[in-house]
């Protein structure tokens, strides 16, 4: 009986949070198209988001391509299908692995950072101070951050995918003696519009989700410094879950339109 009550209460809290987050997203779209526009702050946030994650994305992308190729090579060799390696790797990375892995990295790096930064601003009354000074803190802090992740995450994913393919090409060159020109010719032959477009569109949604959850958790942070830790942590957990849900929906929708 106690467990049932607990489950009911937690379910209520979960759905209440989803409702709050929906209102938060609605407010984002309302404020996005209303004046004044915070271009300077948007550029600053784009720089922060891109610059903060650049090194991590490059390293992760490179290792991803390297390891993926090394692990796949023996299996393809067994079937005499090594020549399929560039096509297989490029389609897997561009369609699915690159966007999901790079976005998860961004969720950990950017989402948690935003949760902690805004949470700390909330508990130290900096957000209240902005409001009292007659400035709209939602527009300045939230709209710019969500827009920055929506714009920058797709670019980071494109960069991560490219670096992953470079990593894969290096392995193929060293292990299989495949020239870089041949490798990339095969990559571009294998990839089509229907691989790149849906994958890029879904990264826009990934970026939006990372910004939305990170800022929502931070902006609504309570309970002092403990709350800041919770905001940062739950931003990562919730975003990761949301990314997989968006990915599932994106694959499902892409299948309907492009028959992938």
């Amino acid at each position: 009986m106690v467990n049932a009550t607990l489950i009911l209460e937690r379910s209520k809290a979960f759905f209440a949070e989803i409702g709050d987050m929906t209102f938060f997203a609605g407010r984002f779209f309302r404020e996005l198209f209303s004046r004044p526009f915070e271009f300077k702050e948007l550029l600053k946030q784009c720089y922060n988001v891109g610059n903060r994650s650049l090194f991590l994305v490059v390293v992760t992308g490179f290792i991803l391509g390297l390891v993926f190729t090394l692990q796949s090579r023996p299996t393809l060799m067994q079937f005499g299908a090594e020549s399929w390696m560039p096509s297989m790797i490029s389609i897997s990375i561009v369609r699915e692995i690159g966007p999901v892995i790079i976005s998860l990295i961004c969720a950990g790096k950017i989402g948690s950072g935003m949760g902690a930064e805004l949470g700390s601003m909330r508990v130290t009354e900096q957000i209240d101070a902005m409001e009292v000074s007659g400035t709209n803190p939602f527009k300045f802090l939230i709209v710019t951050r969500i827009l920055a992740t929506t714009l920058m995450v797709p670019l980071l994913v494109i960069l991560g995918d490219t670096i992953a393919l470079v990593g894969s090409a290096i392995v193929e060159n060293l292990k299989g003696g495949v020239s870089y020109t041949l490798y990339f010719n095969q990559v571009f032959d294998a990839l089509s519009f229907t691989d790149i477009l849906p994958a890029t569109v879904k990264t826009v949604f990934f970026g939006f989700a990372i910004g939305l959850v990170g800022t929502y958790k931070g902006y609504n942070c309570a309970k002092g410094t403990v709350g800041v830790g919770e905001a940062s942590n739950s931003a990562v957990v919730f975003t990761s879950l949301l990314l997989f849900i968006i990915d599932f929906i994106a694959v499902f929708v892409a299948d309907i339109f492009f028959e992938i």
């Binding site: 004044p36 130290t124 009354e125 101070a129 409001e131 009292v132 000074s133 007659g134 400035t135």
Partner: protein
């Protein structure tokens, strides 16, 4: 001085505010007159900060009315409220400086939207420097808040509260967390600002020394209501045990 016939710049009538079962304000009333320093004293958790946050619209009261310069802030729209907020300077308990911005950027922030409000506006740089001069911290203009001491942060926060030349300034525990010497400097600064800018000040504190030096009038907030009201001398010499308990330490 009897100011009963004078119109207050700020008036609170019968303010109630509860958080769940916790009834914080139970019919609180207040009148603040032009050029006056009104001190609100009360124990921790008595609702002083809630009351002051109701005044600037950060918290909505459950009932009652709040009038600033004849305008009811509870019923007004967001744009009007944002504009009215430029008439109010607010010094937060922990200074609340934007820690990702320099001192200069902290002071420029309120000017971004409301520089037109200042009558003799001579440029952002001039306004920032003038406000910093008035708190004696011009040399800290390009420093980050983390590089400043607690007292310096409080002074920068005061400069930020002053930059739009507000008519009313609210101080939420202005001397809390400061050593006695720095606290005294802040109190003197508050007095100077009041004289220089002829502002009306609402000071939330439980620092008796601060109240003695700065107050023209005091209200004791106990159990969510105005428990006692008068000058510092009247209240500190009161025979009522609950009132005199505030002044014993």
């Amino acid at each position: 001085m009897d100011r009963k016939n004078e119109k207050p710049v700020l008036e609170l009538k019968d303010i109630h505010k509860s958080f769940g079962d916790n009834h914080v304000l139970k019919g609180f009333n207040l009148k603040l007159y032009k050029g006056e320093n009104l001190v609100i004293m009360g124990k921790s958790g008595s609702g002083k900060s809630v009351m002051v946050k109701c005044i600037v619209g950060l918290i909505q009261p459950d009932s009652g009315s709040i009038t600033i310069k004849d305008q009811d802030i509870i019923t007004m729209g967001q744009k009007e409220l944002d504009f009215l907020r430029t008439e109010i300077g607010f010094l937060f308990q922990g200074s609340a400086l934007y820690d990702s911005m320099t001192v200069r950027e902290n002071l420029e922030f309120p000017l971004r939207r409301h520089k037109d409000k200042i009558e003799d506006f001579k440029g952002t740089d001039h306004a920032v420097k003038e406000a910093l001069k008035s708190v004696g911290l011009l040399e800290a203009i390009d420093k980050m808040p983390a590089e400043l001491s607690g007292g310096m942060q409080r002074r920068v926060a005061l400069a930020r509260a002053l930059i739009l030349k507000p008519e009313i300034i609210m101080y939420d525990e202005p001397t809390t967390g400061l050593d006695p010497i720095t606290a005294n400097e802040i109190i003197q600064l508050m007095r100077n600002i009041q004289i220089e800018y002829n502002t009306s000040s609402l000071i939330i504190t439980h620092d008796v020394d601060c109240a003695r030096v700065i107050s023209n009038r005091m209200i004791l907030l106990v159990d969510g209501i105005n428990y006692a009201e008068g000058t510092f001398e009247e209240l500190s010499n009161s025979d009522d045990p609950q009132t005199s308990a505030f002044f014993k330490n």
